[in-house]
């Protein structure tokens, strides 16, 4: 039903020349859900909506806005709309050049979206999600569902709770074995809509921050540094972890920082068009 509405609306947007291109989801020949860029009315029937639409499409916005003159239509899940708020606050995108098509979302399924082998369970971020519709949009599709805060019995949550209680040595051992697998393909960085420095600090020719070799030590510096750069900005879309071919638990670093941001600064990234408090001066009472 939502699929049909997206197709019709995208078609009308392109027909009326409101936008140059619509970024949405399609199902590929291997039955895998993936991003698609539609710039012709004839192709709008390829657009779909299903519970495997895990990708955060806002990652393409910057490049697409640079490449075109006109406006861009984009299919946005409630959680993804937080990214647009952060990007807007940081003046990285021109909100006026976007046409946001908001989608009601019942949650995205867990499982390797790459291989389309979903387990039938909701993703962890969806269990704790409190949004039924995007925070900012130009057109809403659906919007009648009710959101329940579901119990989180995921293995990932159990792991987080174990980590919280674990001794320093156990934590160190756990993370060293995670970072040990990293092959420095930088998929986490590329898949992140907020990680878009022209040249990454960790990949500069003259970089003294961290070595380029894939040793456990350098990998750790890279991942901790990257997580820190996203403090107060990361909206928890989990794309970094989903993209990781080595299945490194990157989301945990972001969750820890998000929790600290909330406890220390009462800040939840992306809920308002606001900069990360870490980039501003101390406020009253602190």
């Amino acid at each position: 039903m939502i699929t049909k509405k997206i197709q019709e609306y995208a078609s009308s947007l392109l027909a009326d020349q409101v936008v140059d291109c619509v970024i949405g989801y399609e199902v590929g020949p291997r039955r895998t859900t993936r991003p698609i860029f539609v710039d012709q009315q004839a192709d709008t029937d390829r657009l779909v909506w299903n519970q495997n639409c895990s990708h955060n499409l806002t990652v393409y916005l910057r490049q697409k806005l640079n490449d075109t003159e006109g406006r861009i239509g984009i299919v946005v899940k409630p959680c993804d709309s937080k990214t647009i708020n952060v990007l807007g606050a940081e003046n990285r995108i021109d909100r006026d050049r976007l046409h946001i098509i908001g989608i009601e979302c019942e949650g995205i399924l867990e499982g390797n979206v790459k291989q389309n082998a979903d387990s039938g369970e909701l993703q962890r971020r969806c269990l704790a999600c409190d949004l039924t519709e995007p925070l900012d949009m130009d057109y809403m599709i659906g919007g009648s569902i009710e959101r329940k805060n579901l119990p989180d019995n995921s293995t990932s949550n159990k792991l987080s709770r174990w980590l919280e209680k674990a001794t320093a040595d156990d934590r160190l051992e756990y993370w060293l074995s995670e970072f040990d697998r990293c092959i420095r393909c930088y998929a986490c960085r590329q898949a992140c809509p907020l990680c878009d420095c022209p040249t990454c600090l960790f990949e500069r020719e003259d970089s003294i921050w961290t070595g380029s070799s894939a040793t456990t030590k350098d990998n750790r510096s890279f991942h901790l540094g990257r997580a820190f750069h996203l403090a107060g900005r990361c909206i928890g879309c989990g794309e970094c972890q989903r993209a990781c071919p080595m299945d490194i638990n990157l989301g945990e670093l972001n969750r820890v920082l998000a929790r600290e941001m909330e406890e220390q600064f009462h800040h939840r990234a992306g809920y308002t068009v606001e900069l990360s408090p870490i980039t501003t001066i101390l406020g009253e009472g602190r």
Binding site: G28, P29, R30, T32, T33, R34, P35, I36, F37, H55, V59, Y60, K114, Q115, S177, E178, R181, I183, R184, C185, Y186, A187, R189, Q190, A191, T199, E203, E205, I208, G211, S212, S213, A214, T215, E239, R242, A243, P245, M246, D247
Partner: protein, 333 residues
């Protein structure tokens, strides 16, 4: 062929691990990789293929080439050549073909890659034939096959509760020297696999250079490097000199080479910031052409072994078989 039971193979593996570095498919935190197993029991026998190919061991992600030690006026350059004798167990046919491609480009062509050559010569490949094709595999379409023993030293074919041993090279013979086989001379029925699709001709590839498909297929590319890093034949690298912590007044600089990939944005950036392969479409085209066309022209070998890893690992489902299909569709006439 001679037959060996799984039990005997395991004790053989244990004896190999005593004298050599043994790498085998092992799960670490749910990820299957070629690693040194702590226990022989940790080795996984039934698997489709590890996330990384066997390339990871003979052409590692990062390798220390030189260490430069400077103590006052005294400068020493120490070359770090790896002389470990290794055996990789459980190599798939596609990975073995990958090694043959790497040999062609890094050893048989000038200049010879000294570091690769040393490792390669000291590493024996023991294969495990695939019993069936995986979902994304297409080795049969690029000239290989799930039980093809090309490039391996020994190939093991599943037979009842054990394996038939196909000795391929003299190095393989040496590995099994003095091993008592459980049964001998068992007839081996080679299975026939049909290609899944026909590859585009080299001429068609040439004429597809300016096709529209490069732009449309690359649009969703994230410019990460997964496809190249999991590929058994991608061999581009970057060399960097990195300062290490000084040790009692001795300054240390290490020359490190690490993998690089043409799908990364900065791969072709040159002085002054100009980038001749700036568009994602150009980068994707380069990668596909490198696999299907350039290497074929240069060395006579297809640089795609049909392992399908890039298809499985791509976060946005860029699919080389789909692109091949699109190239074929664009064929005139």
């Amino acid at each position: 062929m001679d037959f060996i039971s799984k039990k005997s193979l395991e004790s053989w593996l244990a004896s190999v691990a005593e004298t050599k570095k043994l790498y085998a498919p092992v799960y670490t935190d749910g990820v299957l990789l070629y690693q040194q197993p702590n226990e022989i029991e940790d080795i996984v026998w039934d698997f489709s293929r590890p996330v990384q190919s066997a390339k990871e061991i003979i052409f590692p992600q990062s390798e220390k080439m030189l260490t430069i030690e400077k103590n006052g006026q005294n400068i020493q350059i120490i070359e770090n050549l790896n002389n470990d004798i290794s055996v990789i167990f459980g190599v798939r046919s596609c990975d073995a073909r990958g090694c043959l491609v790497l040999d062609k480009l890094l050893v048989e062509a000038e200049p010879v890659d000294h570091y690769y050559k040393t490792r390669r010569e000291n590493t024996a490949l023991v294969g495990l034939a695939c019993e069936e094709m995986g979902d994304t595999c297409f080795c049969t379409s690029v000239g290989g096959g799930p039980d093809n023993s090309e490039g391996l030293d020994v190939m093991l074919h599943r037979h009842q509760d054990g394996y038939l041993v196909e000795i391929v090279s003299s190095a393989g013979e040496e590995l099994f020297n003095g091993i008592e086989f459980d049964r001998q001379d068992i007839a081996f029925n080679e299975r026939r696999f049909e290609p899944e699709f026909v590859l585009p001709s080299q001429d068609l590839l040439k004429s597809s250079f300016d096709s529209e498909i490069w732009r449309s297929e690359s649009e969703r590319c994230l410019s990460c490097r997964i496809c190249a890093y999991v590929c058994p034949t991608c061999r581009c690298f970057d060399v960097r000199d990195e300062p290490g912590a000084s040790n009692n007044g001795t300054e240390i600089v290490e020359r490190i080479r690490g993998w690089d990939s043409c799908s990364g944005e900065a791969y072709r950036r040159i002085a002054g910031g100009h980038n001749p392969r700036e568009a994602k479409a150009d980068r994707l085209r380069n990668r596909i052409y490198c696999k299907l066309h350039y290497t074929q022209e240069q060395s006579g070998m297809m640089a795609c072994t049909g392992c399908g890893r890039c298809i499985d690992s791509c976060p946005v489902n860029i699919d080389i078989t789909e692109i091949i299909g699109l190239i074929l569709e664009g064929e005139p006439g």
